[in-house]
């Protein structure tokens, strides 16, 4: 478990202070995969580096495994760091050591005897699927392979927390999926709590159970990934979500739709278990209405479906109004207006 309690981190001194993290309170539960998303410079890396005291908090408390860490001694700090594995965007492997040497490095620091080290290295190589690369040097490996070595190295001392600083940001989409799957496996098989930071929403969608959105050093929103996706509160969050859900129609397309379709245009948002019910055809029959489906998407989030439809309702105004009212009881309905500026607050 990791708990940030009103944590602030300020760099520099008077005059040119940088407030990298401002009054952040967050709790990461044991065994979960928690994601922090934000644009570059939002303060994510700084927040992450506070967990293993690569940075010291200016104010506030950080509790790791029931222990307040900012006041611990040097020996306790070493122990703390061996309980927390860390992986990086740029992998940060030792170029002078081969794969086995890199994975064994934290064990050497912990003074684990050689036979035990070799055993553990072999086990980890199997876990990350790099048995055949044991004698290779980092520069002979692909990015994905380097990150696998990074993960194996981070797991060497059997930590209970893994922190990941943009671990997939330097990788292509396919390799990203492989590494994310490996992180899922780390979480499931070893029951390791994972705290990751990213600027990519698909990473959050793929593996996180909960998420916090950071902007300008502050956490502006946090919660269940599904809840955040289906009901984002801030504009930043909506932007991140639309980057993966692809739900925004271009203003030009919307204007054309309005010109070509005289009817009433609505966006229907299906969440939870609703997605699989025949809502539209039921309403169409009941009110003798025509539905013209103009755009649609369905996504899987946290094993739940999240759907989004833009429909034109063709019928008299009063009937449409009644039908919309009934729809509202089952799904979320938003009227789609003609231009982006007016749409901005409506669209997800």
């Amino acid at each position: 478990m990791i708990k940030f309690d009103k944590v602030t981190k300020t760099f520099g001194s008077d005059g040119q202070e940088v407030h990298a993290v401002k009054d952040v309170s967050l709790t990461i539960n044991k065994g979960e995969i928690f994601g922090i998303i934000g644009f570059s410079g939002a303060g994510k890396s700084t927040l992450l580096r506070l967990v293993n005291l690569l940075e010291r908090p200016t104010f506030g408390k950080i509790i790791v495994n029931e222990k307040e860490i900012s006041t611990i001694s040097q020996t306790e700090l070493r122990k703390l760091r061996s309980r927390i594995g860390m992986i990086f965007q740029s992998f940060n492997l030792l170029s002078s050591r081969n794969v086995a040497g890199n994975i064994a490095y934290p064990l050497k620091l912990a003074k684990v005897p050689k036979d035990k080290r070799d055993e553990r290295v072999e086990e980890l190589l199997r876990f990350v699927g790099l048995e055949d690369k044991v004698n290779k040097y980092p520069e002979q490996l692909s990015g994905g392979q380097k990150q696998r070595v990074g993960i194996a190295r981070a797991l060497a001392t059997s930590p209970d927390i893994l922190i990941c600083d943009e671990a997939t940001s330097a990788l292509d989409p396919e390799t990203t999926e492989e590494i994310l799957n490996l992180l899922k496996k780390v979480n499931k098989e070893y029951d390791i709590t994972i705290l990751l930071i990213t600027h990519e929403m698909h990473v959050i969608r793929s593996i996180c159970s909960r998420v916090a959105v950071m902007e300008d050093g502050k956490v502006i929103e946090q919660g269940n990934v599904y809840d955040i996706f289906s009901n984002p509160q801030s504009k930043t969050t909506r932007n991140f979500i639309s980057s993966v859900l692809n739900d925004n129609l271009s203003p030009r397309l919307l204007d054309r739709l309005h010109r070509e379709h005289s009817g009433n245009i609505y966006r229907l948002i299906f969440t939870g278990g609703v997605s699989s019910k025949p809502i539209i055809s039921q309403i169409a029959k009941k009110y003798n209405l025509d539905f013209n489906i103009m755009y649609g998407s369905i996504h899987e989030l946290q094993d739940q479906l999240y759907g989004n439809l833009i429909v034109e309702l063709i019928g008299t105004d009063s009937i449409v109004k009644e039908a919309v009212n009934e729809l509202r009881e089952i799904v979320e309905v938003k009227e789609v207006l003609g231009s982006e500026s007016r749409l901005d607050h409506v669209l997800a």
Partner: protein, 220 residues
């Protein structure tokens, strides 16, 4: 007056031996001092693992003041100190002292620039794994900088052959003294040619050995 080559060859061989001893001795002592200074210079820099403003400023002044002094000036400037420490300013051993000073700071600079080129993230990763500053110096900084460091030392060795010749002209021994007293003062071109060829072969040999060792340590 031409030299008598039958008696002159042994002199050249002896001078070659002196040059090699000067260079190797200087290289050994200066490497230890230079690597030490270079490491201290790097780790005491602001934001680094043993940040220390005072130590850094002192080293910064030493490195930046002594290193740019032309060797021939340094040689003369430290001669009183050389006399105090070595008892004389003449001969092979006396030449080692100023050469060591010059080489130490040159090596310190090479070491520091190699260390700067290590990705900072690698040091941070070692810290995150619980390494203390001493462990970082010996398990990260030195091994990571070793390959390019050997190339740097090779460069210094070649410069030392040059320095030794210069020291030879002002009282040190070795090939420089031969070139000076026979080739230059007696206008004997053949002596000049022979010493130049030997110096070139020596420099090339050092370069070749350095390249080989650096490849060996980089294992790539």
């Amino acid at each position: 007056m031409k030299v008598d080559w039958t008696t002159f060859w042994p002199k050249i061989v002896e001078a070659l031996g002196e040059t090699i001893i000067m260079v190797i001795l200087t290289l050994l002592i200066a490497s230890m001092i230079g690597i030490g200074i270079g490491l201290m210079f790097f780790v005491t820099r602001e934001g680094n693992i043993l940040e220390n403003k005072t130590v850094f400023s002192i080293l910064n002044i030493l490195v930046n003041v002594i290193r740019p002094i032309p060797f021939i000036i340094l040689l003369v400037a430290v001669s009183p100190l050389t006399r105090t420490l070595m008892g004389t300013t003449i001969g092979t051993m006396a030449a080692v002292f100023p050469m060591t000073i010059a080489a130490s700071f040159a090596i310190a600079r090479v070491v520091e620039s190699n260390l700067v080129s290590i990705q900072p993230g690698v040091i941070e990763a070692a810290q995150a794994m619980g390494a203390n500053p001493v462990q970082i110096i010996f398990t990260v900084l030195i091994p990571e900088a070793l390959g390019p460091l050997i190339l740097g030392l090779t460069f210094i060795t070649v410069a030392l052959i040059d320095f030794s010749a210069m020291a030879g002209t002002v009282g040190g021994g070795g090939l420089g003294a031969i070139a000076m007293s026979y080739g230059y003062q007696r206008f004997d071109t053949s002596v000049m040619v022979v010493t130049i060829v030997i110096l070139i072969v020596l420099a090339q040999g050092a370069q070749y050995l350095g390249n080989y060792l650096s490849r060996f340590f980089l294992r790539r």
